[in-house]
Symmetry: C2
Subunit: 349 residues, 2 copies
């Protein structure tokens, strides 16, 4: 029998900490009983609460940590205070020392990124990690990265992001040859910043294995699902992601107001409530909760700080999928293939 | 009696050229009979079509141009071919020589920008023009700039954009002291690229007149209407704008599919169709059609290339509002005020 997959959880992270993480962990155990959960946090808080979750109490492995990282602590401050001993650090360290396959935290992004980088280090052949988002599109889901791990990226780093994103696409979407687009302000070759243009030329000429380069894509192509993997540097990527989130909120706000306005529209709502429920499900941010830090020697998933138990559970289940589908191995293989390709090309010259 | 306001139109621009511009011009004349329209284009095409629009035929001033600029011509190519003689150039030149107050074209953005810069030149005290978008928000409308006139902007250029955007807010939204936010990846002072952080510090310390600096805003703050004017460099701004457009299309697609799926939802749709009509009107991109080139010695409005007559008419009416409310004078006054402020500050030191 194969080894059980183990996910480590920062039980103290996020706006609600244990109040969200414990019920979420219990939900996950109910749905995937074969998963192993390793919880890091303040046992004085966690243990009494476990009385409510007998299944979780019986199955989960607990580790006490004195320190937890606040949502507004700066990365440097969090590292100083929490390195080695915080629940956030410990959940990541469990991945490093092989106890866990993936770590999940709803704690603050900057601190989590800093700790993940510091503890796991970047993979060989990768200069910078990226934060990848799963983006619902009209054709399913795409992967967009970097959505804010770092700011600015040179052409080689953009290509690294493409390789990382494709490995993720293979791992969670089962797409063997993902299509890749570089986010730009136009689709013509002459458009945009130099790094993006250079990355485009390199992708065309190198044609890395297991990846189909489709050229530049624009902001509106993301939602269309024009490509499986959208590559961008972190500043523009973060702004795109948050702008889309804001637009969805705006739209649902308008829709709610419109349906509440007259008796006729309220009656219409009653008839169509099945349709509205489907629409809500389609737009439910909890379903695709979880940014994924890629490019480190281990996977760390960042759940939305404000997500509820259903949302946090979705992030843990995403972690489970990634571990089962051997994301890290896929990334390493792709990087090795890519560098082999470049070396043989260099030898040819 | 005050001088009539005159708008010059590039009759050949956009995906549909005269087929959209002429009916749009006719609509505008019906709604604002006091407006004067100056049409540039191929009279062999325009004149026979005018038989269908007697009101337009009677009122519009026509100017023949042999050359028209294609939607896929590069800026440099368009300049070489169309400088001096194309309908696009001529409509802008009419603003330069005082015949028209504002020019409107649905032609390709790059070519229009290049011609507008070349023909009108940037205003004194402004290094770079910006393309400003009117963004529908949950609280009304905001102005977002630059959405793609140029790529990259230093701190001083971002401040110029703030001044330009505020003058536009005063002119079309009647807001005396617009609030301004700098688009960034976080609201903390330490976040983001250096240019944005420096611009933030400068806006705080200089506190230009007629402008309330609100700090950094994130992508999701745009749709909330958190500030009246959102300032960003053109790469991120363009991606934000197009991502929002894509998200709206995605959402309306989901909604349509959901309402068509079952008999109950179809009945619901019938009852609530008034609500849906209001929603559609709220999201109608034609209502806020028109990017505005700011920072030049004259105003040029870029209508969506694919917009229909209703959309083009909205862009012409936006032009009319700007001219009536003396946008250029407001910008000049604000720039003068700002530079006076900086000089007196320099003297104080």
């Amino acid at each position: 029998m194969s080894k059980k997959i183990c996910i480590s959880l920062d039980a103290m992270g996020g706006d609600y900490g244990v109040d969200v993480v414990l019920p979420a962990a219990d939900m996950v155990l109910q749905r995937c009983p074969s998963i192993e959960l390793l919880l890091f946090g303040d046992l004085k808080v966690i243990e009494p609460m476990l009385e409510e979750y007998p299944r979780l109490k019986q199955a989960a492995l607990l580790r006490h940590c004195d320190v937890s990282i606040g949502m507004d602590e700066k990365p440097s401050q969090a590292l100083r205070k929490g390195r080695g001993k915080s629940s956030m650090w410990q959940s990541i360290a469990a991945v490093k020392n092989g106890e866990a396959d993936v770590a999940v935290s709803a704690g603050n992004t900057g601190a989590l990124m800093a700790m993940a980088k510091f503890c796991l280090r970047t993979m060989s052949g990768i200069e910078r990690p990226a934060l990848a988002a799963i983006w619902p599109t009209m054709r399913g889901e795409s992967i967009v990265l970097d959505v804010g791990a770092t700011i600015g990226a040179d052409a080689q780093q953009l290509i690294d992001f493409a390789i990382l994103g494709c490995a993720m696409s293979r791992s969670i979407h089962g797409i063997n040859q993902p299509t890749v687009g570089l986010l730009n302000v136009g689709v013509e070759e002459v458009k945009g910043v130099e790094e993006v243009r250079t990355a485009g030329k390199m992708l065309r000429s190198l044609s890395p294995p297991n990846l189909v380069y489709s050229g530049f894509v624009e902001g509106d192509d993301i939602g269309k699902g024009a490509v499986d993997v959208v590559v961008t540097e972190g500043f523009a990527g973060n702004i795109a992601l948050k702008t889309a989130e804001g637009t969805v909120k705006q739209f649902t706000g308008y829709l709610r107001a419109a349906m509440n306005r007259t008796l006729m529209s309220k009656i219409g709502y009653l008839f169509a409530r099945g349709a509205f429920a489907r629409l809500r499900a389609k737009l439910d941010p909890r379903k695709v909760n979880g940014g994924v830090f890629l490019g480190l020697n281990g996977i760390v998933i960042k759940s939305h700080g404000g997500s509820d138990a259903e949302g946090f559970a979705a992030a843990v289940e995403l972690a489970y999928d990634m571990a089962r589908n051997e994301l890290i191995k896929k990334i390493s293989d792709d990087l090795a293939n890519y560098h082999r390709g470049r070396f043989s090309e260099a030898e040819d010259n």
